[in-house]
């Protein structure tokens, strides 16, 4: 599913403590902000985790969202990544019907997209694809006619593009 027309990616550095994700989620619920997707994992520094949140900014200004997030004691820093200035990646896992007649077509599709086949059953395949969200969307759409048994996407993670321009604005208010 494509994100809302006007979305922003917030890369939120948080203290790696119990309940931090609940605080972030609770804040979004209470303030009526919409999360499109959310991914969380520890960083290279074990004291911190990074939450990548794709937010729908049609309803609320990204400024108000970041200011409210910054009020959480465990939130250390927020970077706003404009989709145009960032690299985004997402991982998809899917188990797809692939009876002997169709197996070749599914394998071909996976190869075209540079995905992987992770497991082979008698009439199903489990496949994976890592890529830009739009590519993952296309892959999902093309897999669908074969019959998707189960599908799981991670939600996107992102980092700023390495171009010669100022670093992403840190949104902790001055």
């Amino acid at each position: 599913m494509a994100p809302p027309q006007k979305h922003h990616i917030l890369s939120v550095l948080v203290e790696n403590k119990a309940g931090v994700l609940a605080r972030v989620a609770s804040l979004f619920a209470r303030r009526g902000f919409n999360i499109f997707s959310l991914a969380v994992a520890p960083t290279d520094d074990e004291r911190f985790s990074r939450i990548t949140i794709v937010v729908d900014v049609e309803a609320t200004s990204v400024e108000q969202i970041t200011k409210q997030l910054n009020k959480l004691i465990n939130v250390v820093r927020i970077s706003e990544l404009d989709p145009a200035d960032s690299v985004e990646r997402e991982l998809l896992l899917a188990t797809v019907r692939a009876d002997p007649a169709q197996r070749g077509q599914v394998i071909e599709l996976v190869q075209i997209f540079e995905g992987r086949i992770l497991a082979v059953g008698t009439d199903v395949l489990t496949v994976s694809l890592e890529g830009a969200p739009a590519k993952v969307d296309d892959f999902e759409e093309l897999l669908r006619p074969y019959g998707i048994v189960e599908l799981q996407r991670t939600g996107r993670v992102a980092l700023p593009k390495l171009v010669r321009r100022p670093r992403p604005r840190a949104l902790r208010a001055s």
Binding site: V14, E15, A18, G19, A22, R23, S26, L27, R30, S61, E63, Q64, K67, Q68, N70, K71, L72, I73, N74, V75, V76, R77, R172, A173, S174
Partner: protein, 579 residues
């Protein structure tokens, strides 16, 4: 030195300078109540946990120090959620300690278990579930730091029973380590300069002072700014007393039940200098129609308030006192550099015109009528010391108290503004009196509010805390009645309470207080005089007031402030500023 978690907790509170705490023991907090016997901290035993929370708030309101409340797990924790939310809305520093079932039992639906940190997450500035006794001093230090710095607010520490019993090596941390918490206090110099220029260049400016002035101890700085620039000041419900009502530049309270001049001057201003105020809906009315021509300078320590409701032309993040002091300096520099301030004389004349035409007023009672609540308040105001602390509940009586009292000193007005918590007055007044035993403390309460938390007068009697309660008893949930009269065709649904059920005098006496009653205008003064003489126990006065009396002026909900309704006898005073 080995201490139990419980001993470490009480010792940590002592290290933080806590002198008094409000609470009620129970199963999960039992270990922490044992070292209280040997502690220098005074513990005040409440009759309901909500009372402990509001007492801590009242204490914090008048002292500026965090109020401390301690209760057990489960129902005690849920009972204190209302005060936490109240304190969160009004930015009151408060530290609440709750007991929790043993850490090993969490999640098993144990007796009196509830997810306290989960439940209170959205009504605290931060909360902690302590997982080991060794953490306790660090957590307490962080809790007081967070509660009392930046935008103040309530915090909660949830302490499992087995953690309280664990042994730990005592230490007291010198510093707090909070990488995600560094409030900005000093305003940006360029923004301050821009604000100073805008301020001197405006012909119709108004200072919109909010509760942040009091939180930042900025009343003196505000007065200096107002007197230097000659700009009039409105004080919101949370800022009453932040600028003296007897000052010629004071316009009093704006908002839904603000006076005509405060509301209209903001509405027609070309510049609003918002200092520690948050453009609350009760002040702005319909936001689209609020002060349409005004530029906005907005100063707040919480960056999220800037632009939340109205986009400021000059946003300044910082502590109100520091920013105002810098602003005063910047204005002085500009004046010294030869900048001519804009001519505000026409504006000041218009303000004086509104003041003369639409003063706060009510119709005196006809022969045989019940008491007018405003009249009771005027008598009370004129019979008490100038620095009396006034505490109110929520409703008509709150608005009348805010309107008719003269608040000439900061920290003399304690009320529940943001959350609008009925039942706030009695416990908050007790907390205020504990915090300022040298001051006279009068609670102005409604009969509906009083019935919600009156049992705390038992606490006041047993602890010898001589608060005074004026019940404006109109036998109704008066504000709801007023809305039903004005907006629901006088269809009164579930608002009648009865004037004498309960019998407030007997109830007061049963709780160890002196109970008095005033039914006629002649009764008012002698009863107040008698109440003021009593200083060894609480006093409750049952003032029988007129249920038909409504709070005016009023901006109907959802309408622009231009739609302000004045009392019927002031209607038809056409002319400048008429509606």
């Amino acid at each position: 030195m080995k201490l139990t978690g419980a001993q470490a907790l009480i010792k940590s509170l002592e290290m933080e300078g806590v002198e008094v705490m409000f609470g009620l023991p129970g199963g999960a907090i039992l270990p922490v109540y044992d070292p209280i016997i040997d502690s220098s901290i005074r513990h005040i035993l409440v009759r309901h946990e909500q009372g402990a929370g509001h007492m801590a708030e009242g204490y914090a309101h008048v002292t500026g120090r965090p109020g401390v409340a301690m209760v057990t797990s489960g129902p005690a924790a849920t009972n204190i959620v209302t005060p936490l939310c109240d304190a969160y809305m009004d930015s009151i520093p408060m530290v609440v300690i709750t007991g929790q079932v043993a850490y090993s039992s969490i999640g098993s639906d144990a007796f009196q278990e509830c997810d306290t940190t989960g439940i209170t997450m959205s009504v605290t500035k931060h909360n902690w579930l302590v997982t080991g006794a060794q953490e306790i001093p660090q957590v307490v230090k962080e809790a007081f730091h967070i509660a009392s710095t930046g935008r103040p607010g309530p915090v909660l520490i949830d302490v499992p029973k087995d953690v309280s019993n664990q042994l730990m090596d005592w230490y007291w941390p010198d510093t707090v380590e909070l990488p995600g918490y560094k409030p900005t206090t000093k305003g940006h110099p360029r923004q301050i300069k821009e604000a100073a220029q805008l301020l001197l260049g405006s012909r119709q400016p108004v200072i919109y002072a909010g509760g942040g002035i009091l939180k930042a101890r900025a009343a003196e700085a505000l007065r200096e700014l107002a007197e230097l620039t000659g700009i009039h000041v409105v004080t919101t419900l949370m800022a009453r007393g932040a600028f003296p009502d007897d000052h010629p530049l004071c316009l009093g309270m704006p908002g839904m039940h603000g006076n005509y001049t405060a509301v209209t001057s903001m509405q027609q201003a070309d510049l609003l200098i918002a200092l520690g105020s948050r453009f609350d809906d009760r002040v702005t009315g319909k936001v689209d129609g609020f002060a349409p021509a005004a530029k906005i300078i907005h100063v707040d320590v919480d960056p999220a308030e800037l632009g939340k409701v109205r986009r400021p032309d000059v946003p300044i993040v910082g502590d109100c006192r520091l920013v105002i002091e810098e602003l005063v300096t910047a204005v002085r520099d500009l004046l010294a550099g030869g900048v001519e301030p804009a001519d505000c004389s026409a504006w000041n004349e218009r303000i004086d015109g509104w003041r003369a035409k639409y003063p706060l007023a009510y119709e005196p009672p006809a022969e045989g009528d019940a008491l007018k609540p405003q009249m009771v308040l005027e008598h009370l105001r004129d019979s008490t010391p100038d620095d009396t602390i006034v505490v109110s509940g929520v409703g008509q009586h709150q608005m009348w108290a805010s309107q008719y009292w003269q608040f000439n000193h900061p920290y003399t007005w304690v009320n529940s503004g943001g959350l609008g918590t009925m039942g706030f007055a009695v416990p908050a007044a007790i907390g205020a009196k504990v915090g300022r035993p040298d001051r006279m403390v009068w609670a102005v309460d409604g009969d509906g509010c009083f019935q919600m938390t009156a049992q705390e007068l038992v606490t006041a009697s047993s602890e010898r805390i001589p608060v005074k309660i004026a019940i404006l008893n109109n036998a109704y949930l008066g504000m709801v009645r007023q809305w039903q009269e004005m907006f629901y065709d006088e269809r009164y649904s579930e608002v009648y309470l009865s004037p004498d059920l309960p019998d407030y005098v007997k109830w007061a006496e049963a709780m160890g207080c002196v109970g008095l009653r005033a039914e006629t205008p002649e009764d008012i003064q002698p009863v107040i005089d008698k109440a003021n003489e009593i200083d060894d126990r609480p006093v409750v006065v049952d003032f029988r007031t007129d249920s038909r009396e409504k709070v005016y002026p009023m901006v109907p909900a959802g309408q622009s402030n231009d739609a302000i309704v004045v009392p019927p006898f002031q209607e038809g005073r056409h002319g400048e500023g008429g509606h």
